[in-house]
Symmetry: none
Subunit: 241 residues, 2 copies
DNA sequence: TTGGGGCGTCAGGACTTCGTCAACGGACGC
DNA sequence: GCGTCCGTTGACGAAGTCCTGACGCCCCAA
């Protein structure tokens, strides 16, 4: 009965199933969660300490993070702060402590939800769905952006140029996506580097030069004089439709 | 101790304090919540049944709703569904029922959080802050300032003059931004130098002369007789729209 | 009238940032 | 084990930006 509605609501992001990062130092709990989540078609990554949690968050870009507060290497609130410096990904805190002030601390540090152990798997999954749903922008339809010759389908991860598909590498796509989602707005080099490569790459501006060049070569009519992928020297880049 | 951090994080939306709609049929609880919330500078509306809750949600546009599931006139989940048809306002559910399936039901109906009675006021307030914080970026402050021929979009870092984009260098932007954010007010040379170049450049007034000239050349119709970028001799500069 | 302070303008050189290319090495499939 | 694809580096000239000093104007006070 409690099981029946487990897969009822959508819990996907932009077409694919949501990716979950599970952070806990108890292997058994991680295992149980992983099995349950995979059974519901989530993609699951797991970390057993704070350091690898932050690293995985940066490299894998999960759609939601389940975070145990009792980690061996760092305080759970520190992990939250470390995440909130550069991302707003939903964080659901797990903790054995019922103490009110710990809840308050975690929530004010930027956590989105707080579940005390032992918890019901159904409830956790429901809270997970709620977190993913919240984080998914309402404009799910609005993911097709068009310019004269270019068409981006952000949901399907497809780019067409003059009617034929263009192949992009994962990183190229990621850069493109950030720019297109901020269509018309200036995106700072910092934000691009953080969004695509993670917070520790903030200064690797040559990555951007390489990938902007590749995007222009694949998408611009005259790559040397770009019309859509504009450089704002010293500040960042801008996608102009 | 648990009280001390109550007003620490911001819980405002676009400058004003957040508006909360409290929905519960127990007058005592409504009263207690109202007092606590008002003490923390929230604006509070209260409803004691589902029908008036829906009505108040529509007319008062709260930033967050605290909703008791045990209402006299309708099921709590129906209220959530009624809301979700047209708004994504965060809903925090209160309930005396600990049953897991009820939580799942409410969350899947579109609730954002679920707190069981009896609850700690600190915890509820923390969850409230989390909900407001999450929802805030939706109305990303679109700082657009317009004068006759000029349009500044501070968020997108875009300037248009007579309909066509104007390119500014990073420093030019920085100067412009300080002036425009203080639209109509005099900005002293000192403040400009400090904001743009840093505290150790307070006396380099010739920087200002150079950059004001460049801004005028790019933005004024008659740079020699500026209309918007006004010099207040001996004091500073002023942007007049 | 004269001198000086504050301001606007201009242009060149130092410096930073950008675009481009080529090469390396790991991951993956065949 | 071999080729391919992809991400990462480093190097270089080109382009863009910033600072600086010089000069002239205007206004006001001496």
């Amino acid at each position: 009965m409690t099981e029946s509605r487990a897969d009822a609501p959508r819990h996907e992001t932009a077409g694919r199933m949501a990716r979950v990062l599970v952070v806990d130092d108890e292997p058994q709990l991680v295992r149980a969660l992983t099995i349950n989540l995979r059974a519901r078609k989530y993609e699951v990554d797991a970390a057993h300490d704070g350091a690898s949690a932050l690293h995985l968050a940066a490299t894998r870009h999960p759609d939601v993070i389940i975070l145990d507060l009792g980690l061996p290497d760092m305080d759970g609130v520190e992990v939250i702060s470390g995440l909130r410096g550069w991302t707003r990904v939903p964080v659901i805190v797990l903790s054995a402590r019922h103490a009110s002030d710990e809840k308050v601390e975690a929530l004010d540090a930027g956590a989105d939800d707080y579940v005390t152990k032992p918890f019901g798997m159904d409830e956790l999954l429901a809270r997970l769905r709620a977190a993913v749903r919240r984080a998914t922008p309402a404009d799910e339809e609005d993911v097709v952006v068009e310019t004269g010759a270019l068409t981006f389908d952000l949901a399907a991860k497809k780019v067409r140029r003059d009617g034929s598909d263009v192949r992009l590498t994962p990183t190229e796509w990621h850069v493109l996506e950030v720019l297109v989602r901020n269509s018309g707005r200036l995106v700072t080099q910092r934000q691009l580097l953080q969004d695509v490569w993670g917070p520790s790459y903030e200064t690797e501006t040559n990555y951007l030069r390489v990938y902007m060049a590749q995007l222009r070569r694949k998408l611009e009519k005259d790559p040397a004089h770009p019309r859509h992928f504009i450089t704002e020297s010293g500040m960042g880049y801008r996608f102009e439709r």
